[in-house]
Symmetry: C2
Subunit: 162 residues, 2 copies
């Protein structure tokens, strides 16, 4: 089996669970996370906004959350050795989360361009993030107030390492 | 009271709960979400990664999640009329989530620059997101496979509106 065929198997599975999610009243997004070492599926998730209205419950964010929960110590080993197969192009929130946990590889099927006619593109948000804070549609202000939060946290970390 | 003094009250509260979070073993981040109409606090949240190891459990993402949960129909009214006061500069994941739910105003105290010496800056992730997908540190591939997910979802939505 070629590498492309292997990727297509997992992408087709992501499409399949996204399709089931539509049948269940959800949005058309699913993802499959695969262990790069043994090629086994670690987790399959779908967009679950329809279940409890959590606006952050995208398929990929759900996957990252569920993999992380309860796995202190081993979490980064899992994330840095996995591939995420997503039915849709990851939105900037999910893409940022993937960067935060250092996922190395992502494959996706439907692009923002595919999603545009159905209002399922997040390209405009990516455009916003590419701009300086002062030019984004959100009014974002830096208002410095003297505090020692970071020093306190850092020192506590250093003490715990001793 | 001047507008600046009002903002400082909520930012100081965000610092206060971030400080308590450090005492409780957590990371130095807290946020306060305020209703723009009545000036009342809607929710206060902190980074809860230390509780269950969920890597997405940043203070702001927690706030957006908790406000959204169970509030179908009224959620967008809340988000589009609130101000988020954060002790730290929102990371790209949280900032994207704010764009997704159309939060209009954000104030923060500690910048990425303040966080840099303590490895608490997320500026490098924002740099990554500003690049084309093909140039990001994550290998991201678009692998098209024929499917009708978006049409199916869209048509189902249209039928439900009838």
């Amino acid at each position: 089996m070629s590498a492309k065929e292997k990727h297509e198997i997992f992408l087709k599975r992501a499409i399949e669970i996204a399709n089931l999610n539509i049948d269940n009243g959800g949005r058309p997004f699913g993802c499959v996370v695969v262990n790069n070492h043994d090629g086994e599926i670690i987790i399959e998730t779908v967009n679950t906004m329809h279940i409890n209205n959590d606006p952050t419950a995208h398929a990929e964010l759900n996957a990252i959350r569920e993999i992380g929960i309860g796995k202190k110590g081993t979490m980064m080993e899992i994330f840095t050795n996995c591939t995420i197969y997503a039915s849709g192009q990851p939105c900037p929130m999910c893409l940022s989360a993937m960067h935060l946990v250092k996922v190395p590889n992502v494959y996706y099927v439907n692009s923002n361009q595919d999603g545009e006619p159905f209002k399922l593109s997040t390209a405009s948000i990516l455009d916003q993030l590419s701009k300086p804070l002062s030019q984004q549609s959100i009014n974002i202000y830096h208002l410095p107030i003297s505090n020692s939060l970071y020093e306190k946290w850092f020192n506590k970390q250093q003490q715990q390492l001793k």
